[in-house]
């Protein structure tokens, strides 16, 4: 049964392992930090990778922040890198739309970080309005008060703690009534269960599935595991996938992302994934889950540092 487990990094294989890579792409939440605190040993390991001559990139699914915010947070927590090394879905969204010569307006279900990034890139968007106390939930009254803006050509779903029936109905109606309207979502994260708290936060994935059910079609994913963010890094930095390692904590986003882009994948157990999940994937038959199985695993970045020193 353990024959199908990913390979554990040990002092025997660790040096040879890292010689295979010029580039390291790291996820952030659950690998480098949790919420506002750095995970012990993570910063010094990233510095060590840089000393070893590796190019470091940070790719996060956190769609609460602009690229500049993520860069600033990393700096404050002791992680090295210029802002061009950082990618978040908000920046990737703007790049995605610019690449497609998108000239219409974007309807955003999310927080102002998304609209700030769009504005920074000269992309027009609807105002994110405060929820109205007068918002009525009687179907007739609600629907008669919704007027679709004909210049909207894309609906974007991000992290939206202000989601309500009006926003849901509006977003779904744009997508239902216009086949050419783009449907983009920032991430697939269902929740933040890895924080192990008694109160769980719904993720972008929960809101996105909600809109998807209402309008009857699936969104294009900007965040991991879609290739979008890797394509941007590759275009800007010329990365060779065969010499690139992806380090993450979430199998269905980080590992799947790595596989979609042809990278080698390493999972750390300081975040969402625990040993029990790796054992589960190793023993079950579902072919879809092959895509979630990392090539290698290790307890934490701190452990790698210790293994390299032995």
């Amino acid at each position: 049964m353990t024959g199908n487990l990913p390979t554990l990094l040990t002092k025997q294989n660790v040096h040879e392992f890292f010689e295979k890579f010029d580039n390291i792409i790291s996820d952030c939440d659950g690998v480098l930090w949790r919420d506002m605190e750095a995970i012990p040993g993570s910063a010094s390991m990233i510095h060590k990778f840089a000393d070893m001559g590796k190019n470091i990139f940070y790719v996060t699914n956190d769609s609460n922040s602009t690229r500049d915010h993520i860069h600033q947070k990393a700096e404050e927590l002791g992680f090295p890198g210029q802002k061009e090394s950082f990618l978040s879905p908000t920046y990737a969204l703007a790049e995605y739309l610019k690449h497609r010569q998108f000239k219409r307006k974007v309807y955003v279900l999310g927080k102002p970080d998304i609209t700030h990034e769009l504005t920074n890139n000269q992309i027009e968007h609807c105002e994110i309005k405060e929820p109205n106390d007068d918002d009525t939930t009687c179907i007739k009254n609600l629907m008669s008060s919704i007027n679709l803006d004909p210049s909207v050509g894309a609906v974007v779903v991000g992290f939206d703690p202000e989601i309500n029936m009006r926003k849901l109905a509006t977003a779904a109606s744009y997508l239902w009534s216009d086949d050419s309207c783009l449907f983009l979502c920032m991430a697939v994260d269902e929740n933040n269960a890895e924080m192990n708290q008694p109160i769980i936060l719904p993720g972008v994935g929960a809101i996105s599935k909600c809109v998807e059910t209402a309008c009857g079609r699936a969104p294009v994913l900007i965040g991991k595991p879609s290739r979008t963010m890797f394509d941007i890094l590759q275009a800007n930095h010329g990365l060779d996938p065969s010499r690139t390692l992806m380090i993450g904590d979430r199998c269905n986003s980080d590992v799947a992302f790595g596989k979609n882009c042809g990278l080698t994948t390493l999972v750390v157990l300081t975040g969402h994934t625990k040993m029990s999940l790796l054992e589960h994937y190793a023993t079950e038959q579902d072919p879809a889950h092959k895509h979630f199985q990392p090539d290698y695993y290790v307890n934490s970045l701190k452990d790698i540092h210790e293994l390299l020193q032995l």
């Binding site: 202000e162 989601i163 779904a172 239902w176 009534s177 769980i200 719904p202 059910t213 209402a214 009857g216």
Partner: protein, 335 residues
């Protein structure tokens, strides 16, 4: 080489497949379109069933208006000796509230003949001797039916979205009495409610029930679509990473409730509906005869598309019979 000649009395087409034995592939082709009810088949149709289960929204009424002569049609079926049950996925009304609507719109109905998903949900818990509290994401339809069976629950209505979601994680306290999360249609759906529901469901002992999963209500003559209960259920299901037990069509739970209390024979029962992936699929799941009407979400083009295609899942959505509207039965029943 093997030549196979297939002819099915059920399908309207016959086909010949010739192939190497090593890669023998029989392609399932079209399925039969529902037959239109008319003077030539109405007698045979009527002899097939004693009991009628009819959906409501899109079949007998639309909002607060009767659809054509649907009321006369049902009353006539009653006159020729058929039993009628109103079977609706709508979770926003109690049975007694439905009686009022039926009476206002000219439909004969007794409380025992109404089967709504909120009623089924309350029965589901009662039959299992549930003695804890229910966290409700839904309407008074659910809370009042729970009151009717003496089960305690949280209140419905707007739950204001938090200003700082991350700090709410620290301050929010879960009620230890909650042993079930029930999700129905909720016009006041919010991030906080999804958060609370998903948090209660972290406990594997906590039951997860959904009234139904209807995805949406297209608004006729407009470019708008209204989110259905399925959207709220999907949000909680995704955040909780758990699947609910669904009370409503196409799940057989609703039929179980009526079958037991009324000793029904599925093969002598007809299901009438407008939404094929709930009403008609429900009929098929329970072994009933099925009739689809085109006054709701299904259009004739959908039936044609499913019949022409080779997807067996879509073939399951094809009813035995169809009518443009239920009121058409009035003329057919004249004789």
């Amino acid at each position: 080489k093997v030549t196979i000649f297939c002819c099915s009395l059920q399908f309207s087409s016959a086909f010949i497949v010739t192939s190497e034995v090593s890669d023998l592939m029989i392609k399932v082709q079209m399925a039969a379109l529902p037959k239109k009810l008319d003077k030539t088949n109405i007698k045979q149709f009527l002899s097939m069933f004693d009991t009628v289960l009819t959906d409501c929204d899109g079949v007998i009424w639309s909002g607060d208006e009767v659809i054509g002569n649907a009321n006369i049609a049902l009353n006539k079926l009653r006159d020729v000796g058929k039993n009628i049950f109103y079977v609706t996925n709508n979770s926003t009304k109690t049975r007694s509230e439905y009686i009022i609507k039926c009476k206002n719109l000219g439909f004969e109905a007794k409380e025992e003949e109404i089967v709504g998903t909120s009623y089924v949900l309350a029965q589901y818990l009662k039959q299992r001797n549930f003695n804890k509290k229910v966290y409700v994401v839904g309407s008074t339809g659910i809370t009042r039916e729970l009151d009717n069976v003496g089960i305690t629950h949280t209140e419905i209505g707007p739950d204001p979205s938090p200003e700082k979601v991350f700090s709410l994680q620290e301050t929010m306290k879960l009620d230890p009495e909650i042993g079930c999360v029930a999700v129905g249609f909720d016009g006041d759906i919010s991030f906080t409610k999804i958060m609370k529901a998903a948090s209660y469901l972290l406990n594997p002992e906590c039951l997860f029930l959904a009234t139904n999963t209807d995805e949406r209500f297209p608004i006729r003559n407009s470019n708008l679509v209204f989110p259905g209960t399925g959207t709220m259920v999907k949000a909680v299901e995704t955040a909780a990473e758990r699947k609910p037990v669904v009370m409503g069509k196409p799940s057989a739970e609703m039929f179980e409730v009526i079958r037991k209390t009324n000793n029904l024979d599925p093969s002598r029962t007809l299901m009438i509906g407008d939404r094929c992936n709930t009403d008609i699929l429900f009929g098929k799941n329970c072994g009933l005869n099925t009739l689809v009407v085109l006054t709701g979400v299904t259009e004739y083009e959908h039936l044609e598309k499913w019949a022409k295609g080779s997807d067996p899942e879509q073939h399951k959505l094809l009813a035995d019979y169809f009518l443009p509207q239920l009121g058409d039965l009035v003329d057919l029943l004249e004789d």
